[in-house]
Symmetry: C2
Subunit: 383 residues, 2 copies
Amino acid sequence: MTEKSDSVGIVEACDFVFGLTEDDYLPLDCGRKLGSVNIRYETYGKLDDNASNAVLLLHALSGDAHAAGYYSADDKKPGWWDEMVGPGKAFDTNRYFIVCSNVIGGCSGSTGPGSINPATGKAYGMDFPVITIADMVRAQYRLMRHLKIDQWLAVAGGSMGGMQALQWAVSYPDAVKGVIAIATSSKISPQSIAFNWVGREAIKNDPNWNNGDYGANVPRQGLSTARMLAHITYLSDESMLNKFGRSLQKSDKYSFDFDYDFAVESYLQYQGARFVDRFDANSYLYITRAIDYFDLSDEHGSLSGTFRHMKSDFMVISFSSDWLFPPYQSEHIVKALVENGINVTSCTLESSYGHDAFLLEVDALSRMTGDFLRNLQAGGNGQ
Amino acid sequence: MTEKSDSVGIVEACDFVFGLTEDDYLPLDCGRKLGSVNIRYETYGKLDDNASNAVLLLHALSGDAHAAGYYSADDKKPGWWDEMVGPGKAFDTNRYFIVCSNVIGGCSGSTGPGSINPATGKAYGMDFPVITIADMVRAQYRLMRHLKIDQWLAVAGGSMGGMQALQWAVSYPDAVKGVIAIATSSKISPQSIAFNWVGREAIKNDPNWNNGDYGANVPRQGLSTARMLAHITYLSDESMLNKFGRSLQKSDKYSFDFDYDFAVESYLQYQGARFVDRFDANSYLYITRAIDYFDLSDEHGSLSGTFRHMKSDFMVISFSSDWLFPPYQSEHIVKALVENGINVTSCTLESSYGHDAFLLEVDALSRMTGDFLRNLQAGGNGQ
């Protein structure tokens, strides 16, 4: 941990357990119910007396509850949105009570396919129910009630986190004052569904996967390949040209073999290997499936219909070079909001970073989200 | 076979063998030499008396020597560019003598990793030398001499076929009157190198791959996954939206499982399975590596320097929605040609088909290539 006045400092993860009796089980979109649910979460800042300053941060595919701060004095790696969360930062912990929880289906503390199935005493594996973005939000609602919060000042997230933010406003219109949806979509395109499919195929083809029942003998190669593929979609053609070009890694001449030769190949291999050390293959299957299935226009025929009874103010941000969640998908969201007379601030930020921009374009995001939150707290809307 | 007056009809593949003695071996860029080389090829039309009407077609990654016509009376599937090759078509077999050969490293008749290594009596597997685009062209040059042709009226191809066409003009400037380079690049971007890497990882992770020594027990799953991934890059976001949208395959409701559910998933699965029946996994490794290594600016510091001594006329065509070989890469080629005062006709055709447009936009391609070839034959350039 670096001593910094704008850090939330050393933080601790908490656990909230519910669903220990059948009447408290979590109903899921697939028709099944989930019992014995643990939600891993972290909080930063203080909830004010009338519980009006709470902000929920929602993480992306491979994120977790650790949005900010450090776990110990010698911890070198802060939370995933540390540049945005802290005293004086956009999610200002001097003003707001920040909550971030790991999604159900995940592998970083909340109940997921790697958790023990109380019915069998063994890990769920592929017996874990297929969950949706709405299911994730349903579980977060239980956490909200547990924390004695009636309404979030804002819910905010990028990528799959943005999907959850949108879903919050649809599922619980009274519980959300403002929505910050970054680099996200109301439904992903068939191209993205196809990439997710290929990533899952890579995992399922790994003999170690063993139909999801792998114990300690994890499908490293399959998960690594899935991650490498996904990683390409998080960058852009331009950012890869800038970062790697056609540079070679080991020599100035081609090695004429099939080991990594180009710098970009070495980088991918490193990213894949690093991911396997921190993420669970079955969770990867479940969470990508939840992303595939997310379609806000499903229930009401159109996105505009879905947004009809929403009460939140919105901020919708996309990035010019993001081809995984392209700006046109954000524009669809904005159009449907405007059709319903909902307050919306929107912007497509110029960036060469592709989808990863939602984690990298900190300055622009900080200004926009900081203003939006202060306006919400002042009682106005985000415009 | 459909009886059509514009078909070349029933065709036969031929084999040309060279390199049976050491002085005739094919020298390769990697420093090794290849002996006992077979080139599988087909010809359509007739070579004229002064051998001035020969056109060489160059295939893409998964193509072969069978560019046009049928193998039998009940053959339903014509060659891969049949719509472009035949009497009265762009590559008019009434006017031109058309040649198409399978690349070395391939798996459709020409010598590749699946061929028998004369030194061991067993299949080369991964003992096959890493070959380059220039090596492929070097082998085609031997075929040209065998066919008693001194100069091609034109060399033409899309994607990797376009790379070979460019390489022909660089390696053998006197042997090429015109170059037709479609949907191609003088060097692929790190994004494409990265996709090739992930595809190869999928193959190498398949336990059946066995370091390339798989006999009949082929790495189906790995090759299928590699093909599915590549297939996404051949389409475009727009064409996938048009073709599949988010349609489901089996029901109007989500199946909440990990089998194929979306139409696009079912399509990919089908494409993957079909590919494995006709293509060799080791060839996939070798040919994608050749594509990675292709860089026309390598030897002379810049593309313009490489093009300095070229004598051919050029036609360079790209497609607006092609993100695998984006229009800007064709523009780089055109710029370097113009800098050398070389005659070049170029166009970015509007198309939603992505990279696949080079096989699908037949009308526009036929007009442009037909005109270019007739001008070449008339002695002028393609402009």
